[in-house]
């Protein structure tokens, strides 16, 4: 995926819930690439334009799974608190 596509996809999947300054995505992508979580390559798109595509490395995939687990624990804990508070 390239940066613009990534933003569109996040907005589509979230039902347009996330509105963020698009430019702030790129430093994050560069940071993740430098940490070895992403790799990038320039490709020529169908319309002849150059685009930089990002993909997860195996290290990045492991980290993503780890972060997902953390997020599930966190949201689970918040849900428990909210449910208890409602009862």
């Amino acid at each position: 995926m390239y940066g613009y596509e990534l933003i569109q996809e996040v907005q589509r999947l979230s039902g347009q819930a996330f509105e963020f300054n698009e430019g702030t995505l790129y430093p994050v992508l560069h940071q993740l690439e430098r940490k070895g979580f992403l790799r990038s390559e320039w490709r020529i798109a169908e319309n002849g334009r150059k685009r930089k595509y990002y993909s997860l490395t195996s290290k990045g995939r492991q980290q993503a799974e780890h972060e997902q687990e953390d997020w599930k624990h966190f949201t689970g804990a918040i849900n428990l608190i909210l449910t208890s508070a409602q009862q």
């Binding site: 430019g23 702030t24 790129y26 430093p27 560069h30």
Partner: protein
């Protein structure tokens, strides 16, 4: 220049990316994004001008983006800074020491001071090299250290670099005999050069004042070192003028290099 290029320029300027390849990579990626965004706006019915405004507005604050990029590439920037100035210091020492040596050889011969050929002994040349290296390292040390402080940068830089010279003298005394007075002289010269460079704007004034200050200082030291004959004092004065003028050249080149090459990469004091 259109709005997109202005935005990219602002981001690149604030990002302070050290390497041209990174700058080109970031610029191409942001340009590609902004063109995609403009195309989307055109499909939604905007004309070209409106589409450009749409893309720029959705991209967000260039200050925020460039600050984040600067943080990501901080380590590379520091590495570049150290390598660039390490090379500059090395080249400066070689140039000043080499030039001074040639002038010294010429003067000793022309003034008929062949009996003073001991001044080309390995020991004496080593002490002269230490003096030149000390002046240049001291000058560069002050040049960078003052940037680390926002309040009272020069006095603080004098203290920090002074302490470093004391430590260096403490360490070097095990290998080089009488290095303490040489390093003290070098430190005083570096302070002279830095103060004159900071206080005076015009390069001719800087050149003349640095040459005068260092020549007077060096000749005074020579006179205290039991130089008695007029030719000896004259040669000493001229050698110090040579050191001063070549150090002045280094200072001018450094400020030019800093302004033209590094200021785009290191726009503020926080490396």
């Amino acid at each position: 220049m259109n709005g997109i290029e202005i935005l990219i320029d602002k981001i690149l300027a604030g990002s302070r990316l050290a390497y041209g390849a990174n700058r080109r990579d970031v610029a191409a990626e942001l340009r590609s994004h902004l063109e995609d965004s403009m195309n989307e706006a055109r499909r939604a019915g905007y004309d070209d001008e409106e589409a450009e405004r749409f893309a720029v507005a959705h991209f967000g604050s260039p200050e925020l983006v460039s600050r984040d990029f600067a943080r990501v590439y901080r380590l590379e920037r520091v590495r570049f800074y150290i390598v660039a100035f390490g090379l500059l210091i090395f080249a400066s020492i070689v140039a000043v020491a080499g030039f001074t040596y040639l002038v010294q050889r010429m003067l000793v011969t022309n003034f008929g001071l062949q009996h003073r050929l001991w001044c080309f002994s390995a020991k004496h040349l080593a002490s002269e090299l230490l003096l030149v290296a000390g002046i240049i390292i001291g000058y560069f040390g002050l040049f960078f250290t003052k940037r680390l402080f926002s309040r009272g940068p020069m006095p603080k830089a004098f203290v920090v670099v002074g302490i470093m010279f004391l430590l260096a003298a403490g360490l070097l005394q095990f290998w080089i005999e009488d290095c303490e007075p040489i390093l003290a002289e070098a430190y005083i010269c570096a302070v002279f050069i830095s103060v004159i460079e900071m206080r005076f704007g015009h390069w001719i004034a800087k050149f003349l004042l640095i040459a005068a200050a260092l020549t007077a200082f060096g000749t005074l030291l020579g006179a205290l070192d039991h130089l008695t004959s007029a030719p000896e004092i004259m040669v000493t004065a001229l050698i110090w003028t040579t050191i001063a003028v070549s150090c002045c050249g280094v200072a001018l080149f450094t400020s030019h290099f800093d302004r033209r090459v590094l200021s785009r990469r290191f726009a503020d004091s926080s490396v």
